[in-house]
Assembly symmetry: C2
Homo-oligomer: 474 residues x 2
């Protein structure tokens, strides 16, 4: 027998899975559209040179490469590859459609990407990315818009207590400068600093000094962060108001600490502070103020960010539900020019895992193949055409009312039919036995409330619609 | 400069394209759900042995094969491949989920497939298939259901005059037998017969005799089809009623001609006739009767069909919008057992081409990035925070009403902003100039009706909602 599992690290989505995924994608899409984003789709397959060299040495290794066809197949040469992310394709589309796309191009893209990573719990080789990006302006309106849109999408999915952590690459540089860490050590220091949550002060101190950063500088840096983290409890005591005013107060305090710590003549660091101040104001006006928390320890791994960076965290969940930032040097890669851009990516697979674990899906989603099952065959032997034609016509009438309807498809005893329908979880089962048929009646069973009604055939539509809380318009 | 086109035979879908595709997919999905089909999704990538040998020698050549990763990359060996159709993955899923899937599994699957075909007009290397299949029963209810569901999907998309051509493999065999063509020549004769539309009687006669079929048998066969085609004009004269009754009459006549022509002791041929009779009755009760036309010349290329076959044609369009049939020996391929199945596939790419050419998309689909654009910057020099905060708050209010709203993102002269918004086609443009801002007003322009209203800020939601024909619920 052949192997019938999906390929390693890939997944089949059975109906209940697809319904969950479609629900989440539908909500995200609807919110993104409301914020003025437009859909873009690119092919799964790209020319290999479009992708190679764009994701570093490790990325190159993880790209699925496609053999040349025909006689070239023997050479083992690859000329195509599977999409690795949605950002490089966006850059290619921008370059290829200059002049036709709007100057400010706001696109969302929700499509799978493929990475030959070692599969692990929650890590797949085919997974969806949900990206929004705004291309074409340096305006901080964009950062605020991304925070508002991504936050709103999560809120509509039912997430409540999440935080959008916000920082700025130039603030990070300013902090490291102020601590006395030289520019050539910044990247290395950020890798260590990124582990502050996980390793604590002593662990990061060791890692910093191991990386050749002076003890004095390491201490100054870590003391700054230690003082920052004590701010939170101070604010909680002093402000007794809404979460929004508490968070606003905290953000104000953190920004003023940053302004004190970063040197006055550090133009870059101070412009980072000014940008975050502006983003906070814009986000507040956009309704996202209460969700944002300035977090100067947020580093984010990707080296291509050039300005603000953000990440969404949920209490009791390590890792993030999404993240993004400004990257002004990447989108122009195919045009060899700088094009300002800022993007945010929601982690669809992770969102679905968390929503499943926390039972956040609407109850009506995990449902039967259809809303109504009609059982109209007489017995297991005899195919009575007229009777089944009657069932089909009834199904047709209900479908005209936009109901989702099934008909038991072959002759079987009524008990067998009923047991099948019950097992599949149809909420409404309509039974037409021999006597019902003769008398022009049927029995409608609402399996959710365990009630039954014997009604005439003319009443079926209105009775069934009512069971789903819908009005009949006839 | 790098190449920025998509890979050969692949397409980028810009926002207007995606909206068209999503519209079509949405309608098809909604109809399929109403007929009790459930969604299935499988990975783009399959183990190579799952696909190889399933599509014949030509198919094998057209499969995109993926190189092994890591050190194996040098060997040129492929271990994975891109999905070539949706039927083999369905068979794999059925085998892999035996016991958890319903006995009667009705699934739809709308996903891309990849074939390394030579690209041509309308032929792509990445294209979507839209399949419905019912697995697990021999009942003719299924054939009728597929005709009803696929027909309804096309009708909801706006197709009106299409025909579902219906035939049966066993009737074809019966006809060929009755003409005196031996079983070993059937496949070859069907290839020739399939060209009757294109080549006419003389062309097909030549092809039949070239293929070694006796002149007498060829003549008998072609005369039968000639007589059949004259039936249509006879019916049109004799029946003056609805299209439905005309078609019903024609189908009845064609079936009786078949019953006369096919030999009485030809059990296989006659069981084909009985099955079509049943399908017609079931389809009529399901509301699809008027769309079906028995067409004994329909052959369909795929050799795996075992019973009824169908194809949807549209007047003035060569080729079909979709087709399908019963194939009882394929779905069990991974289980080495027969599992009855019947399926239908709509040609999404072709549907979209025809709908675009015939302007069948709803007008509101081909639209701007959002419904409303707010222009709130003062001039190109000065970033007045308070003013733009005011615009953002207004955008937020409208988004709470489910409106799709954009805000011009950076400082610019009002004229420049307005020209941009007009060019992008936003139906509603809200302008807040300096005086408006001071007086708490704004100007709302409906670009579709070329009207403008000067209103207070409090009125904005109700005025804009009204412009879209929606009620304000506040």
């Amino acid at each position: 027998m052949s192997k019938t599992q999906p390929a390693r690290g890939m997944r089949d989505f059975l109906p209940a899975d697809v319904r969950r995924r479609e629900y989440v994608i539908g909500v995200i899409r609807e919110v993104y559209e409301r914020y003025g984003f437009e859909p873009l789709e690119t092919p799964a397959v790209e020319n290999i040179e479009t992708l190679l060299g764009k994701y570093g040495e490790e990325g190159n290794q993880l790209i699925f490469k496609i053999l040349k066809r025909g006689e070239h197949e023997q050479t083992g040469e690859a000329d195509l590859a599977l999409r690795y992310d949605l950002t490089v394709p966006l850059a290619r589309v921008i370059a290829n459609n200059r002049g036709t796309l709007p100057k400010f191009f706001k696109r969302y893209q929700i499509q799978p990407v493929w990475r030959a990573d070692r599969p692990a719990r929650g890590r797949f080789r085919e997974f969806y990315q949900c990206d929004i990006d705004v291309v074409g302006t340096h305006s901080m309106l964009v950062e605020a818009l991304l925070c508002a849109a991504a936050g709103e999408a999560l809120a509509e999915l039912g997430f409540q207590q999440f935080t959008i952590r916000l920082n700025h690459r130039q603030i990070l540089a300013g902090i490291l400068n102020a601590a006395g860490i030289l520019g050539d050590k910044h990247a290395s220091a950020l890798v260590a600093l990124d582990k502050l949550d996980k390793l604590g002060r002593n662990g990061v101190y060791k890692e910093l000094t191991d990386r050749g950063i002076a003890e004095e500088a390491s201490n100054k840096l870590l003391t700054f962060f230690e003082n920052l983290s004590s701010l939170e409890s101070e604010v909680r005591i002093s402000v007794d108001g809404s979460i929004e005013s508490e968070r606003e107060e905290l953000n104000k305090l953190v920004l003023s600490r940053l302004a004190e710590f970063i040197e006055e003549d550090d133009e870059i660091g101070n412009s980072g502070i000014a940008e975050l101040r502006l983003i906070l104001k814009y986000a507040k006006a956009s309704g996202a103020g209460a969700r944002i928390k300035i977090d100067p320890s947020l580093a984010r791994g990707l080296s291509y960010y050039t300005g603000a960076i953000m990440e969404i965290s949920v209490p009791d969940l390590s890792g993030s539900l999404g993240g993004g930032g400004r990257y002004d040097n990447l989108i122009g890669m195919f045009l060899k020019e700088g094009i300002p851009a800022c993007g945010f990516s929601l982690g669809l697979e992770r969102i679905i895992v968390v929503m499943t674990e926390r039972e956040m899906f609407p109850r009506e989603l995990v449902e039967a193949p259809a809303e109504v099952m009609i059982l109209g065959w007489f017995d297991s032997q005899y195919e009575d055409e007229n009777r089944i034609l009657d069932s089909l016509a009834l199904a047709n009438r209900l479908r005209r009312k936009k109901m989702r309807v099934d008909v038991y498809p072959e002759p079987a005893d009524m008990d067998k039919q009923f047991n099948y329908a019950r097992k599949q979880g149809y909420p409404i089962i309509i039974q037409i036995n021999q006597e019902d048929y003769r008398e022009g009646k049927c029995v409608v069973k609402d399996m959710r409330t365990k009630t039954r009604q014997e009604i005439t055939r003319a009443e079926v539509e209105s009775v069934v619609l009512k069971m789903f809380g819908k009005e009949s318009d006839t």
